[in-house]
Each structure stands twice: as structure tokens, then as C-alpha cells.
């Protein structure tokens, strides 16, 4: 008995002799981040990214609308140029908001809004053909443009830019009126998004789940960036294997596809830098988050290095490099999920 007591005494001293013993190696991944700091970082993402970018989107939509109203009054080259310039800003701002559109995970009423605004790769409607038919007709536009697709960003792009060359745009009164119907539709929806984010803290209140929803959304936007926006036009995907076609690019008509890709990546970078990287650091996942930020920056740099629009050559070596980097970003998001502490990593090594 004495021997055992001595053993126990030694054991207690050993256990109490240093911080190293507090960690037995079995439960090393239990969250080290306080929920308070997570809330602060979520609030920062909400304020600096969600609210700021959606408000900017709503303001840009209003400005674009004003320019289109002016275009309705006078279909001059100046007014058209002004509307086109604002519209491209609108497209890019929207891509950013879409990239981190967590509203659909927070409120069921917000699920369908993106599909009302943007139908890229959704549905089978050939928007240019359909719009050309409508512009050539004389039926009331409101009835003709009843489908969301014909009021979407893609529809507005085609209406304002025509088939890539400005000279191709025969900006008639009817075309300008159609653009007004489209921007009204878009403005209504982006205003709803801006109001949703600015009115409450559903995102912050969701806590840990908000992080999950955000990462899922960013993975989704990364996948679509890789497959839909780069892979399909470049002929890297199964769907269009070895059949590159610039017309599959998202903003082919306005030659703004690279800028749209950049906006998506910039939005992801903002989310990371404004809070997600900090949340990851608080939960033993800083190396995964840091690697992700480096990759996103690298992808943005690759986009900036394109000397000619991707519309001119959708399957260049630069495109392939970008595609591969985005693929690695997608994998890195999965690694980030795995590294975050929202799942247990106990090591259970005892029998029974």
C-alpha cells in the first residue's frame, strides 16, 4: 500500500509541475478562441464586408438607374457610355456581393434573390436571341420581359453593350426602355439585400453557424468561378472538353469577365482579412487560413497579369494557371473546414 501511495504522490507532483502536462496530447484541438472574439470578428465581417458592399451595390444600382433614365431621354453616345460605365461597376459589385451571399443561409425569404438578379449558367434561355426578338417587336415591354432572365444582369449587359462592339448597339428608345425595366428589377432586389444586411445582425447572431454558412458560400463561389467562369469557356470541363468558346464567359459582351472574376476573389479576400482569418487563428487553423489568403492574393495577381482581355483568348496558359490556382483554393477551403475546431478531434485509444 505504501508503494502505491508513493506512486500516487509522485504522479500528482508530476502532473502539477508545468504547463506541458496540462496538455496530454489527447484533446489538443479543443477550441482556444473565445466566443466573444468570434462575435467581434463576425461583426467586423458584417459591417466592413456584408453591409458595406451590399450598400455600395444598392447605390451603384441607383446610379446606373439614373444613367439609364437619362439614356431614355437621349440615346446619345455620351449617355450610353455613362450607362455602360456604371453598369460595369454594377456587375463587378454584384459579383462581390454574390461571392459572400450568406443571406440565403440566414433567411429562407432571401434564397431566391440571386437567381432573380443573375441567371449565368442557370436555365436554357438564349438571352441575346430572345432580347433581339423583343427589341424587334412592338408589344408592350413589361409583358415581353416577364421572365427573370430577361431582366437580369446578363440581359442588361446585352441591352447596353450589344454583341461586344459598341458600334453594334443600336440604342433605340425601345432598347433604353427595356434597360429601365431591367434596372428597376435589379435595383429592387439589390435594395432588399442591402436592407437585409443593414437592418439586423442575423449573421452575427448565428455565431458559429455563420462561419459555416460563410465558408460554404465561398467554396460554392470558388467552385463556380473555377468551373463556370473559367473552365467552361476555356474547355477544361467535361461539359466543354477541348472546346474553348469565349461566348461562354460571364461578361463576354461587355468584355468584363476578368474584372468579374477579380471581384469575386477580392470579396473573398475581404471576408478573410476582415474576420475569417482571425476566427481561424483563434481556432488553431491559422496556417490553413494564411495559406488561403496567399492563394487568393496570388489568383488576383494572376488576373492582373493578363495583358489582353480573356475574351480574346479564353484558353491561354495564363487561364490554365488561374484555373489550377482556383482549384487549389477550393481544396484549401476544405482543409480550413477540417482544421477549424467545430468538430472534435479527441484521440480515443482505450479498449474495453
Amino acid at each position: 500500500m505504501k508503494k502505491t501511495l508513493v506512486w500516487l504522490f509522485v504522479a500528482m507532483i508530476y502532473s502539477g509541475c508545468g504547463g506541458d502536462n496540462a496538455h496530454d496530447g489527447e484533446n489538443g484541438l479543443i477550441s482556444g478562441g473565445s466566443s466573444d472574439s468570434t462575435v467581434v470578428l463576425l461583426q467586423q465581417i458584417e459591417d466592413a464586408v456584408l453591409v458595406a458592399q451590399s450598400s455600395s451595390l444598392a447605390i451603384t444600382a441607383a446610379s446606373t438607374k439614373a444613367a439609364i433614365v437619362a439614356l431614355q431621354d437621349e440615346q446619345s453616345v455620351e449617355e450610353l457610355g455613362s450607362a455602360q460605365s456604371l453598369a460595369t461597376t454594377l456587375f463587378e459589385t454584384w459579383k462581390g456581393v454574390e461571392a459572400h451571399y450568406v443571406a440565403k443561409g440566414l433567411d429562407d425569404a432571401m434564397i431566391d434573390i440571386p437567381a432573380q438578379i443573375d441567371v449565368f449558367n442557370i436555365g436554357n434561355i438564349d438571352i441575346p436571341t430572345r432580347l433581339d426578338e423583343i427589341f424587334a417587336g412592338s408589344s408592350p415591354l413589361e409583358g415581353q420581359l416577364y421572365q427573370s432572365a430577361t431582366r437580369s444582369m446578363s440581359a442588361l449587359e446585352y441591352t447596353l453593350f450589344g454583341n461586344q462592339e459598341m458600334s453594334d448597339v443600336n440604342m433605340t428608345q425601345r432598347r433604353a426602355d427595356a434597360a429601365k425595366i431591367m434596372i428597376d428589377h435589379i435595383e429592387g432586389h439589390v435594395t432588399t439585400i442591402a436592407e437585409f444586411y443593414s437592418e439586423g445582425s442575423a449573421f452575427v447572431d448565428a455565431g458559429e453557424d455563420a462561419v459555416g454558412i460563410m465558408i460554404n458560400q465561398m467554396i460554392d463561389s470558388t467552385y463556380k468561378l473555377k468551373e463556370w467562369r473559367i473552365g467552361d469557356p476555356a474547355g477544361y470541363t467535361l461539359k466543354y472538353r477541348d472546346d474553348p468558346d469565349a461566348e461562354h464567359l460571364e461578361y463576354y459582351h461587355s468584355i468584363r469577365s476578368l474584372q468579374a472574376m477579380r471581384a469575386i476573389l477580392s470579396a473573398q479576400e475581404s471576408v478573410m482579412l476582415q474576420g475569417l482569418q482571425g476566427i481561424a487563428a483563434n481556432n488553431s487553423a491559422s496556417s490553413e487560413a494564411d495559406a488561403l489568403v496567399i492563394l487568393i492574393k496570388d489568383a488576383i495577381a494572376q488576373i492582373d497579369s493578363f495583358s489582353t482581355p480573356i475574351e480574346e483568348s479564353p484558353a491561354s496558359s495564363k487561364t490554365l494557371g488561374l484555373y489550377n490556382t482556383i482549384d487549389t483554393i477550393q481544396t484549401s477551403y476544405t482543409a480550413l473546414i477540417n482544421a477549424l475546431n467545430f468538430t472534435q478531434d479527441i484521440i480515443e485509444a482505450d479498449g474495453d
Binding site: 508530476y14 506541458d20 453557424d209 454558412i213 467554396i219 476544405t334 468538430t343 485509444a349 479498449g351 474495453d352
Partner: protein, 303 residues
Amino acid sequence: MGSLGIEYFFDTHQRIFWLYLLVSSMIAAVYILYHREKFKTYLDPKIWWHRSARLDYGYFIVVSLIKSTFIIPLLLSSKEVALLTALTLQELLGYMPAMGWSREAIMLLFSATLFIVSDFTRYWLHRLMHALPFLWRFHRVHHSAEVLNPLTFYRVHPVENVLFGIRYALSAGLVTGLFIYLFGARISLIEVIGVNLFVFAFAMLGSNLRHSHVPLRYGNTIERWVISPFMHQLHHTRMGAEHNYGGALAVWDRLFGTLYITEVSVLQFGLGKGTGHDSILDLLTRPLKLKKEISYEKDRLIT
């Protein structure tokens, strides 16, 4: 520096976390109230200070040190398996948008799946430890205990620790990887004091009494689904050691024909005369020294 196991009493993931011990003690106290004739038996120093029990206490400290120093730092992590699983599923099946289930539903399904799959793999590894002579030589260390107490749970040879560690990493990793593939970053466990709800519930059902002399039963109906302390005690007898391999659920024993429930008032634990161990060193080294494979059947014949 390694661990000597003292912190296990304060770690909610450990079987001997103080709350689980307390609850088991309270359950035992209630049981004793209804079986007062056995009162002296349960508190008899012949059990708690038996040679085998003392060996358990010392072995617990030594094996904790071995585990924390040599085994756990080198063991495969379930997170590594999870990442590999998620990426492999993406590669094979393609990207799938995260399913939009409610967070509560995801948490419940993930917690239950993790618990069930882990219990299933525990059943099979435990059964293999008995069926394969090469493994039995290590598992017999656990079955050599002649009396049972909560620390007998840790009377496991380090080789068995490694096998159970790999088992957990694989089963938890595969489940987690699958759930990451299906639900992305929204997976989470329903936890009580930092432990999977189902694991916690099992612990609160008196899991520490499995290695004790309190023959607590849950009743025939429940015992078709959950392994009671008495059922595990039967497993520690020579007549019942080929049965009741289950960790928490009795379903596996029922499905694979190893469920065993009988009415016995006196249980004789251990492997029989001459098969016990004399020292901690003997517990650790004898399985490695055996020149011939020793099967469970051979152990049974020793009287």
C-alpha cells in the same frame, strides 16, 4: 513531459472524469439500497485492494505515461483521415453544394452517426482481439484482471492502445470527411460539457460500473439495445468472454450473434489460476515474450 493520468479525472472525454465516477457511484448506492445483503461485498478491501486491483492502479499511471509519450504523438489523427476522405469524395463524385439542412438536423445526424459508427468499429476490433491469437495475446492483459474497478478500463496493452487509436481515427475521420463533403463547414456536434451528447448519455448511465462488481442491469428490453454493466461483467468471465463485445450498443452483439445474457449471481473474473500477472512489467512484456501464439480457447482450458 508525459502524462500520468491524473488529469483524466478532470477530462470530460475520459471514462473516469469525476462527474461520471460520481454518477456511477450514486447509481451504485441506489442499487445497493435495494440489495443490502451485498453491501459488504462491494466495499470489501478484498476487491479494492486485491493484488489485481493494485496492479490496475499502478499500471494506469505507467500506461498513461507510455500513451502520452510514445503513442498519442505518433497516432494518426482523425482530422487527417477526415480531410483525405472529403477530398477523395470530391475527386470521385465531384463537387456538391452543401446540403441546406437545418443546423439542428445536421448536428443530430452527425453526433449520432459518429457515435454509432465508432461503437460499431469498437465492437469489431474488440471481437477480433478475441478471435485472432496474435491479438488475443495483447487483449488478455485486460482480461487477466481478477477483480474489476473503473481503472481496469485502462488495463490495456500499449499495442491495443495503438489499434484502438487507429480504429478511432479511421472511423471518426471517415464519418467527419463524409459530413464535410455533404454539409461543408456547418457540421457540428451536439455537446454536453464538451462531449458528444450520446457519449455523455452513455457515461451518465453508469459506464464506470462496467468495470466493477455491481451487477447493474437495465432490464431485458433495454439490454437488447444497450450493453449494461452486468453484460460487460459477463464478458469478463471465462464463460461469457466470447460474447457481449459491444461498447455501448448491444445491437451489434444481437446482429452478429454474440449477445449473451444469463442469470448468474456470482461472477468469476479473470483467466483462471496461473494466468494472472505479477507486476506492471509483466503486464507490458509478457505478450511480447510469448513464444507461441496463445489462443483464447487455450486460455479457457487453463484451470
